[in-house]
Symmetry: C2
Subunit: 215 residues, 2 copies
DNA sequence: CGCGGCCTGGGGTGAATCACCCATGCCAGG
DNA sequence: CCTGGCATGGGTGATTCACCCCAGGCCGCG
């Protein structure tokens, strides 16, 4: 099976170079080129390629928005981002837009080919330095805090906060900790004052942000 | 610079095969082998390798726990998981443990070598099918719902729910929607009944799970 | 045309919460 | 030794919550 590929980059020279590189590969056919977002969308509709190799910097619209538009209308079309941008910002936004691969232009030619083949197979190729960013985000996002200072809460206050965040009432917490409900209320007041929160629901959101509880 | 590598797998035959494969590579030295978690930890301390190639299925302890132990004591040591497991479960747990690479045993030898070189360089190598899982988790985790049915809530109820989730009181919501506080209370009762929730804090957690609000 | 669902309001009750006030021990650090 | 932070309690009053009751108006659907 041959991969039918659409090339999107606003620089004709770059497109030529990519065409040279990609056409030397077997089972890979470049069915079209586009230098602008409008052309890209039109050609996707016209040619129904398997894969779009997308530059982010386009003259008339962002490659991110273009990717989003393509994935919304033709979800089966894989999009691989090929760009000079290696920062978190563009990378994450491109993933959200539905990209199946992300390769910086400084990457080795073989890596681009790997990304194209991988994305065409329905998988995802991530350039290692960007995979690292994603994994960091994953690990951090899943459980950000716990060991964090919790803004100067005492041990007992943190303990009470954990129960409060679960939605327990003062009485329930009091029984769990075998102290008076009034003491629980006292702790809660101190907690809310220290964290500058003003309601139980704010406490829940705070606890989720800090990873104390799972939503 | 030569990569100093420690091989951890409980099958001697597999270790031999890997040694054959890896030793044919330049700039790669296998400094030791371990068949059990205890040996692995001991050898890491003794040999201070750059990288540990870790099987998950070990006789005395999980490769995941072993990875965690290694990364806690020697964060500079890169760990690449090489395993038969390709499901989300092991993959995500291995990432949490601190792995810099994840390669299924069915992968091509070149992919293992790429993973080793990438991880040794401080980056992350993810096998494409697993990179796909991670990206899916990333995209889903960031904004999971919104368009979902919300379990049969009416439009007005969803509107009230949005305010409730923010922690607004009945009176505040009433003023925002220019209706009576009693009506807000009524909507809230219906919402809680439909969603089988029993407190405002439960509503907040529900709203965060559904992506209605951000924590 | 009636039926049911939705939105809108009102009343009531008991419990819980909130936001203040107060005090007592205990223990560490200046 | 004594000041301050921490944990532990009590009290009070206003407010809110959670859960019941009720009903009228509107709109679509059979």
């Amino acid at each position: 099976m041959t991969i039918r590929l659409l090339l999107v980059d606003d620089h004709a020279v770059v497109r030529s170079g990519l065409r040279m590189l990609l056409e030397s590969e077997p089972n890979l056919e470049i069915v079209g080129e586009a230098g602008a977002a409008q052309d890209a969308l039109r050609l996707v509709e016209l040619l129904q390629p398997d894969l779009v190799l997308m530059d982010i910097g386009l003259p008339d619209a962002s490659g991110i928005d273009t990717t989003l538009a393509i994935k919304q209308r033709w979800p089966a079309v894989a999009v691989v981002a090929l760009t000079i941008h290696e920062d978190e910002e563009y990378f994450f936004r491109m993933l959200h837009a539905g990209a199946s691969g992300y390769v910086p232009k400084r990457a080795a030619p073989e890596e681009l080919l790997t990304a194209v083949r991988t994305a065409a197979a329905g998988e995802v190729y991530l350039y290692p330095s960007l995979a690292k960013l994603l994994v960091q985000d994953f690990v951090a996002g899943a459980r950000p805090a716990q060991a964090e200072a919790l803004s100067g809460l005492t041990e007992r206050e943190q303990e009470v906060l954990a129960y409060l965040a679960e939605g327990s009432s003062n009485l329930e917490i009091a029984e769990a900790l075998t102290i008076s409900p009034k003491t629980v209320a006292r702790h809660r007041e101190n907690i809310m004052a220290k964290l500058n929160l003003h309601s139980r629901t704010d406490l829940v959101k705070y606890a989720i942000r800090k990873g104390i509880i799972q939503p």
